[in-house]
Each structure stands twice: as C-alpha cells, then as structure tokens.
Symmetry: C2
C-alpha cells in the first residue's frame, strides 16, 4: 500500500534517498547527518487532504526526502550540503550548499569523536592530573554544543565537553557522575578532531572574583554521591506506595491506521521526524478542520553564570542536532500508563545506515478529572462526566536534562500542548563551604547554575479552512458614565492582526489570541468561529539584547509571533542554530518580511519560559515542572461538544474507610460498594 | 473517644450548642442559620498540636461552637446574633450582636420564602401574564442574593429571583429551564416576606439603549431547549467511549483515622464547616511542619452588564450564605474515580435541626503523569517514576454554577490547590436576531452575560515552625559590564515583607512568593528553608473602584495579601458580604493595620481571576475551566523527596495496535504485552 504523503520515510525509502545522493557525489565520501521526509508543499498537500476528506480522487504527490550531509573532499575539507530528492523518480529536486556562516547540526558521531579525542589528548590528561582525583574515580566527558557566544572569528566548528568523575567503586555503570563535577572543559575542533584547549573553570563563591580559578587539587573530596538508580539508593525504593492501575477492559476508544488516529470525533495524523520529534497534522473534529500542523519548534536553555567560559552554555535542544537520537524508547521505562500504542521513527545511525528508533511516540487515553457537572438543587439530580484525554507523547534526553512533550486532545474540542522538564540540573564544581549568587549548591561541591528554559510551539491553524485571521481580544474597564452608570461594565476589544509581528502576553488585560475564520459565523452567536488560547505571562529571555545568547535566540523574547506561512519555515531560531552568532531565518527574520497576514495562511508561534533558579529538591533528579498551552474552541461549535458523554457510574471504583477501621468523627461507615464515574 | 480539637461538631454536639443558646434566649423564638466548630484559638491549638506531635501530654482545649442565629422579638423584629458556647460547660463564652449595617448570611428557608412569596404575589402574576408564555411552560424562580450595589438606604434585607420557564411537556423535572430566561426579577423584602417590586429586564441588543425594555410578549417563542440530562439528549449519550477504570488491587496507600490522613510522608487533618467547605490543617511532611491551615476563603462573581438591574448580580459564593447547603453529595454522581473515602459534614437544616450532609468531601489517589525521569544515554538505562497525588475534593452548586475545589498533595512535597468552574452560565433573555456587547448569545434568546470569577485561597504557613517570613523573590536582567561581560547574567533579588500589604503578580520578573523560616537553613545550600508559589498573572476585578461591585470586593483587586494572623480572620471579603455596601473586616481592612509581619505568625492570601466572556461551547453546561496554585518546597528538603519512589513496570498496562490491525508505516507490530509504570 502506498504511503500517505505525511507518513515518515520507511527504512527502505531512507536508504533509497541516501543512494540517490551518493550517486550524485560518487567521487567523494559523504557522511549523512539526517534523512527524513520533506513534507509536501502546502499548496499541493492542501489539495490532497481536501480530496481525501471529501472522498475525491487523490492527486499524486511527489515523495521527497530531505537529506542533510557532509561532503568530504578527502583533503580535510568538509562541505555541508542538503539535497531534496524524489524517491520515486530518483532525481534531485533541490540542492543547497549550506552557507559557510552556518554550522550543520551536530551528530552523535561527532560526540564520539570528542570523547575519543579527550581520551587521547595529552593536554587533557595533564589537566586531569593536576586535579588529584580520588582513587577509583574515572573521568566522564559529556559532549555539549559550543554555543552562547557563537563561533570564533574564523567560524571554526567546535564542541565542548563537560566533565564529571564517576565512582567506579560502586560497580554500576549508572552511578550518578553528575555529583562529581570537574572544573575542566576540553574544547575540540570538529574538523581536526583535536582538543585545542582545556578551559579551567572558576570554582569560587560569592566572595570570589569573576575570573577566580580557585581550582584546587582534591576538587572532588568534598563532593557527595547522589544516586537515583534504585539499586544504589541508600535505603532502597520505598514499599509504601500501593499499585494504581489503569485499565480499559473493552480496549481503547481510539483507532490507529498507520499514522491516522481517530478518537471521539477527533481525526488527525501523527508524524515523526528527527528534527522536531512527534508532529500532529490535519486535525479535524466532527469532520471540520481545526489545525493544519502542530509541532515543538525549538527550545533554548541559556545559562546565566557570567564567569568565563559559562556564557557558552546555551543549548538549542531541537535545532543544535535535532532530537532524533535524543528521543527515548518509551518501552524501556514506565512512561505511559494504561492501554498504549507505540509508534516507531526512523533515524540515521552510524555508518550512513538508517535504523528504526522504536517506540519513540506513545498514544493512550487518560482521565483528567471532572469534565462538566451540574446538579439541579431542587431535585438533587446530578449529572457529571469525566474529562477523558487522548495523549500523544514523546520524551527527549539532552545530556543531563529530559523533556516530556505531550499533545492532549479532550472531549470538549480542546487541544493542550504540555511540556514537562525533568532530569538532572547542570552543575559545576564549587569550593567547599562556599555559596554563589549564580546558582544554588544542591549537593556538596555541586553548584547548579541559574538558567532558563524557553520553548516555542508552532501552531498552523486551519479553523474551518486554511485562511484564518489572528485576532487579539482583551477585556478592559470602562469609566463610570451614561453607558456605565454603576461602574460594573467592562468591554471586550478585538483587534485583527494585519501584518506579521510579535505580540506579548498581557494577562492583566485578559489578552487572548484567537485564530478566526472570517468567513464562517457561528449560527447561534453570530460571531466568527475560532480557536483561542491565552498566552501565559511567563518570564522570557533575560540576557542583554546585545549578548550572544540574546542575539541567537530572538524568538525567545516575545510570547507570540504571527507570520505568514512559508514552506519549511518551521524553526523558531532558524535552521542552523548550532554555534550561531545570530538568529538567522528564524522568527525575527520572518516578521521582518512585514507580510499581510489577515485572512490568509497565517502561522502562530507560542513562546513560554521557565526561569530555573534551582532548588535542592531538584537534586539528584528534578520533579517535573509542567507548562501547558490550552487551545480551546471559541464559538466554533453550537454547544458543548462533550454534552453527550455518558455519566454512568464506574463499576470499578470502590469505597474505602482507609487502612484503619475507624469512623470519621462525623464520618460514615463506608462499605465496599460502587461509586465513581465512567 | 474524645474528639480531636479540629474535628467538626457531631450532630449531638451541634444540638447541645443549640440548646445552650436557646436556654439563653428562652423568652424569644430563635432561628438558627448555622452552628459549627469554633476552631480553637491558635495560641492554644499550637500547644496542643506540638504536644501531639512530640508525644507529650495533651493540654485540654475547650470544645466550642459558633452559633449564628436570628432572635425574633415576636413583633416582626429580627436581630442577628452570634454566640460562642462551650459545649462541655454549657456556658456562653462570647456574645456578638451583629451590627445592623451587616446582613447575616442567607439561608435556605429564606430561599423558600422567596419562592413561596413569588407564587403568592399578584404583582408577579400580572407581570408573568404580560409575557404570554407558551402552553405547557411554568415559571421557575431561582433565588439569588441581592448584591452588587449593596443594600438600599434603609439597609433593608432583600432577595431577588431570576426567572426561567420550564417546559413541562417534557415530563421531566430536570429539563433545562435555563434555556428559557424570563425578563423579570421579583424582589422580596426578607423581613415582610413580600414581593415589593418586579423589575422588568431589558432584552435589547447592541443597537438598543441601556434602559431598553423591549420586553415584548412571546419572549420565549424564539428560545430553544438545551437539555443535559442524558434521557433528554436528542440522540442519547454516545456509545463510543470505552470504559477507563482505575483500581488499586492492594488498596489505597492512605490511612484515615477520623479526620487524620496519612499518606507517603504526608500527615494532615481534614475538616469541614458550612462556611468554607473542606479545610486542611496541621500539614506535616516527614514529621516537619509545612502548613497550619489551608482553605478557600471567598470568591466573587461580578457581572458586567451595565443595564439596570444587572449590576446587582454579584455573588459571594462562600460569604453570602456559606456553602454548607450548597455542597454536593459526591456519592450521587461520578465525581471521583478509583478507591474513594468519603467524609460527611454536619449542617443546620430546617426547623433548627442539624443533619448529616453525607459524602461532602472525598479522598482518593490519582496518577498525574511522569514524576521524574532520567536516562543515561550511554547505557540506555532509564529510570522513571509516576507522580501520584492524594486528592481531597469538594464540590459546590450555587444555583446555576458549580465549583470543584481540590487540595492535591504529591510525592515531591508539593501541594496544589485546584479550582474547576463548571455548571451553567447565567443567561438573560434577548430579543430574536440580536447580539450584545455585554455577553454572548449561547442559545437562541439566551444571552450569557460577561462576568468574572475571582477566588481567594487562604494559606497559613508553618514552615518548620509557626513563625515565618514572606519573601518576594524576582529575577532581573543586569547591564553588560565588568560583572557581566557576556551579558548573560541575571540576578535574583529577595525582599522580605516587613509590613502587612498587598502584592501583585509579576511573572515578567519571575516574582515568586516564598514563605521562609528565617531560623532554619538548608544544610546543603545554606539557604533558609521555605515553601513557595508563583502568583499567576490573571486579570482581577475590572469594575470601577468607586462602583459597588469593587467596594464590596476589595480583596479581588490584588493577587497576594500578606497579613498578621488573627483568630477567626478567615474571610477575604469580611464576615458579612451579603448585600454589603463595602468590604468590612476583609483583607483591605486587615492590611490597614500595618502590622509587622516579618518572622511572625504571618498569613498569605492568594487571589486569582477568570474573566469569563462566555462562548457557545459553554452551553448548556460548560466544560470545566481549571486553575491551580502550586505550593512547592524550596530548599526545604535535602534532596528530591520522591527520589525513592519505585520505578517498576506496571503489570496492568497493555499494548495495543489500535482498533484496526494495520501496522504503522514505520510502526511496530504491537503485541499484547506489558509496559507502563507502577
């Protein structure tokens, strides 16, 4: 069966694309970074999807692959290129030589080179020897992008390694080396694969100067182990928590057909690519179009320690290297509960061979409390229903940190994009007994530096059609007067967005962003149909505007961006943020086009931040910090779309009196019975 | 067994208190509004709790009841009084004559008087006759407090009735009469129990004037039924949603002993009183004190339609009448899922007789997604745990609206106070074909008026002890300079609150409220132990400052209030907001005391708002709108307190391929197996 235009490339297709490119560069060696589906241009895909939904004959869509690779000239020269190839015809459709100002995304092999180069570097060995590590400790090198200040003047390609000591006496490869930060950062030139220098890190506290390399020997002696794997916990896992099981004895309510998912009036496709992770396409509810595409566009994590070389710590966790290799296999853990469907992805592995990345996306239903309720107090008749959600989730690990992303669809026509930050905070060595204004000592000798996580979610609306208008709606007080004699009136103001621009959150004005179809009115209210969300006032990028960190992450400085659709314009910080000097081809450039965006193919980008000043409770692994964007229908439907959800009593719920048999002072003698909800 | 000082009064104790008061007023008739526990003064209760926690002999605490009642002089005079009586000694301890400027809280009998008075009123019958209701329709009167502009100049006590038509031809007492709003409001003098006037309501739209009483006959002809009870749904309940069951085969992890609840290091008491609903007391984690008391203090729902008499619509859903009679019996519906423990309350019913209000509070565990996760990418070893929460929940129905309140305790030491607004929006009649800037037409002929819901949660911290300091912490950018050469530094500023005051949210500065113990330092970080929350920037009261609505709800104008503890100072809008002219004895008065609050018995009040401009999807019953306050430990613990939560695979979770048997394009052949989490 032919793949759907939005299906990711199979292993076979990926290798076919690779072979096409190799054939075009037969005189050179080629190293493939990534190969994945080049999503069809919207003008074409719209036609296809419209035909698909209306049962018309389907137009043919070229099946194209985006190939990102290095061409090696054999004399040490490396050129970054991209080719779009047509898998069926075997021809190249587009050929891009990546301009030299840009750095192609990082790859796992380059991380391995760094680790090997460090292992072979005398420069590094000497630096370690100065440290006098305790017996039994070996060095762990954690490769990082070399970001924050951009590349150097010659635009060399570097990687840096954050270093830790691992206590091998624990005889466990998962003992937590982050508890033993080493004050060294080796820097590798990616072209020569050589360690060109080893930065000595300051380890002082509040009383020490900015340049202070206290950097004494015995830097780990005051550090303390902090394990999280259960077999290394001092007292083992707790035994008090009783099981809580979620089951669906009649199976799930969703159906899956390839990438097509249907559930309770929702119909959409899930995709996966190694740049963005899970993507959502062609979202319909009761046969009406809602969203063309949803995705996590980018995130940046700038660190706020001013001491050299820490300003170089600024990851772009999607753009630096794509998240393909960072995506968790969700079967290996306990990431989902209940009845679960997994989806695989395809990513380039080593040696120009693609492989299946199994279980990178999971799908399941979950209960999220009361959906709606009303009791007629006269008759005491209560009707209450549960809010069931359908969750599409993926999780990425970037070195120390984890991010859980979920698209949640609910019974009332709402879509929530949820982010959870967890994992291990980034720590650097600090002298014994010292504290620092640049972070918090979360473990003896380990300073967790202050930083921010700023995310951008891309929303491509298609509310009852592909041409929408973004309207900013606010509620404002009104002075007392003839129109407001009692002073209780407030007025709702609506301002359509005419030109591409950024907009900040303003919850004090109840500023709501509506994605409106100007040509479709709700038959009940007479107002235009729309979907809306309230951008949350969160703190955005704090770095100074002229700083490298701010220049590279201009997207991170405003809460909402409104742009006119352009094919392949998906990445808030641009296509090549790795070691960038400035954000290029991202949102700041997009709005400068000053496009007319009213009643057009408009795209909305939602940005939110988490300023993270670590607390001791974040150690050794932080409890998940949650943020949500709630997309909700606003006059899209003619009533609550979940009004017909059954309100049966759930036969599996039971009463309890708690573990002891006492009554409440005013309490009932609870008996085992049935209560709860469907 | 003697009751705990925080246990609510039993039926017997309530009647005993009543009899004591009756004995003191033997020459008069007394009508009791409410009788409930007068919580012990904090100076006494602290001693008791400290002794309890340390296993010392318990001091004796008087068992006192707060009785609120009317004394009728037999000549039509009614005086509102309160007495605190000692149940054991039988003596009155305090006697308060409620000042005449205040109105005692409303009671259900008064609501019945209104309904009866309307039924007997010729004035009202004539007004209805003008309307020419369709055949088969009867009038439903929904009693409301008479608020918004305060009482009249003589400070008469009034109630108003919102009127609707019920279609009796449906032969169902729960057919939705809100779909048929009648443009009449009868007003009853509560003393004489007579209908003194019938307000005719404007029914015009945007083109009509403020005073427009279009008010034509046949006002219901263009209205359309909108039922929510399943037997009246046009197509019945849907059958596609499959069951999702939550079970705990080994029972719950919590234990209950009277009002005492213990769960995963948490230990606290749950109380219930008819003013505030469920309250939380004496919260400890791993034997350390966290909170003295948590409660929902007040909420106000002001309506923003400027046309007379709509400015009178402003409910104080806790303070107007207490929520005792409004509290849902949670067994009658499907409000909780899983293994559930219910608690009863005691409230005054008719004829000065108390009764048990069964199942007004429920307790259960629930899963809330991933708690924490880390994967060592080198070994692929993933450790992931689930975030389990313990939920204490109660639900109130105020005429058309429902509010669900939940206190949620999690495994990482966090406490969340969650509010869900659901139920039926308040609608008024609007002429056919018209729309209005004052709201949204959600059903033909039914205009849902714009309004706000503003809530106040009272937090009485006891972080490692009863004397705490509130510290405001913010993160600010720093100019480029010698201390910030790369421009990436931001600084964290902490300002202790010295005097009682209000503070607004400022998420742009990452303004965080910390409740700190100045005398206890975290041994790892050296910083003071604390609990914190980030006040969310939400829109607060929009009514003009000089308006009745704003004067009465001054608490609703700022996000955070910090006051010095005073016994019985529990109610943000004061003790008597019903028909008040101005907020008295609420938060605005409390901060005017200008008390010294640093390192003292300080109380924090969190205020948040939901500006509700109704959408058609809110009809006929609105999907729940959710808000949360997240209290989180900050350097209170020496590590993540949930690090030892087991990460076992959950044996009840299963794989599925979805309802169809196809593979994903890149999909795996899911087989029935086991995956998921504990």
């Amino acid at each position: 069966m032919a793949p759907h235009p939005l299906d990711g490339l199979s292993l076979e297709e990926t290798h076919k694309a690779r072979d096409i490119v190799c054939g075009l560069h037969s005189e050179h060696n080629v190293f493939f970074r990534e190969i994945y589906l080049d999503e069809p241009k919207k003008a074409l895909l719209r036609k296809y999807l419209t035909a698909e939904h209306s049962g018309q004959p389907l137009p043919s869509i070229p099946r194209q692959a985006l190939c990102q690779y290095d061409v090696l000239d054999g004399k040490g020269g490396v050129q970054s290129q991209e080719s779009i190839v047509d898998i069926d015809t075997g021809k190249r459709v587009e050929h891009i030589i990546v301009p030299e100002e840009h750095h192609a995304s990082l790859s796992i092999p380059e991380f391995r080179y760094l680790v090997n180069a460090v292992a072979e570097s005398k420069l590094f060995a000497d630096a370690v020897a100065e440290l006098k590590l305790p017996e039994g400790f070996e060095v762990v090198v954690e490769p990082w992008p070399y970001d924050g200040l951009g590349a150097d003047e010659e635009n060399n390609r570097y990687f840096q390694g954050l270093c830790f000591g691992r206590d091998t006496r624990q005889n466990n490869p998962d003992s937590n080396f982050y508890a033993y930060p080493l004050p060294l950062i080796p820097v590798m030139n990616a072209k020569t694969k050589e360690i060109v220098r080893v930065d000595r890190l300051p380890t002082g506290g509040d009383q020490d100067g900015l340049q202070d390399e206290t950097h004494k020997p015995n830097v780990l002696d005051h550090c303390v182990g902090a394990d999280y794997v259960p077999e290394l916990l001092p007292n083992g896992p707790r035994t008090t928590l009783k099981a809580l099981n979620v089951s669906q004895p009649d199976g799930p309510s969703f159906s899956v057909n390839g990438g097509l998912i249907e559930w309770e009036h929702w119909r959409f496709r899930v995709g996966f690519n190694p740049r963005e992770g899970a993507t959502i396409h062609d979202v319909h509810f009761q046969g009406r179009s809602v969203m063309y595409r949803l995705s996590i566009s980018e995130m940046s994590v700038p660190y706020a320690d001013p001491r050299s070389p820490f300003p170089r710590k600024q990851a772009f966790d999607f753009g630096d290297g794509g998240i393909g290799s960072a995506t968790n296999n969700l079967k290996l853990g306990c990431d989902c509960l209940g009845v679960i469907k997994y989806f695989d992805g395809v990513i380039m592995a080593a040696n120009n061979t693609a492989e299946v990345a199994p279980n990178v996306v999971c799908l399941h239903e979950q209960d999220n409390g009361i959906g709606w309720k009303h009791t007629n107090w006269r008759t005491n008749r209560a009707v209450v229903t549960r809010n069931r959600e359908l969750v599409v989730q993926f999780i990425i690990t970037l070195a120390n940190y984890e991010y859980v992303f979920a698209y949640k669809f609910d019974l009332a026509g709402g879509i929530t994009v949820e982010t959870r930050a967890t994992g291990i905070v980034s720590v650097v060595n600090i002298d014994p007994g010292k504290t620092s204004a640049y972070g918090n000592v979360v473990s003896p000798g380990a300073l967790a530096q202050n930083h921010q996580h700023i995310f951008c979610v891309r929303l491509d609306p298609a509310v009852d059609g592909y041409e929408n208008t973004v309207v900013v709606e606010e509620s404002h007080p009104v002075a007392v007067g003839p129109k407001n004699p009692a002073g209780n009136l407030y007025e709702v103001r609506k301002t359509p967005v005419e030109k591409s621009q950024w907009i900040d959150a303003a919850a004090r004005h109840n500023r709501v962003i509506k994605m409106v179809n100007q040509d479709k009115k709700n038959p009940i209210s007479g107002r235009n149909v729309s979907y809306k969300f309230t951008p949350v006032d969160t703190q955005l990028l704090l770095a100074q505007p002229e700083s490298g960190q701010a220049q590279r992450a201009q997207f991170a400085q405003h809460h909402v961006w409104v742009t006119k659709y352009a094919d392949r314009e998906l990445y808030a910080a641009g296509r090549y943020p790795l070691s960038s000097k400035v954000e290029k081809g991202g949102l700041s450039d997009a709005v400068k086009r000053n496009d007319e965006v009213a009643n057009s193919d408009v795209v909305v980008w939602s940005v939110f931040g988490l300023t993270h000043n670590p607390r001791v409770e974040d150690w050794p692994v932080m409890p998940a910090e949650v943020h949500q964007i709630n997309l909700r229908p606003a006059d899209f439907f003619t009533a609550n779309p979940s009004i017909d959800v059954p309100s049966n009593v759930n036969s599996a719920s039971v009463l309890t009196n708690g573990s002891t048999a006492a009554n409440g002072v005013n309490g009932s003698n609870g008996t085992n019975g049935h209560a709860g909800c469907h």
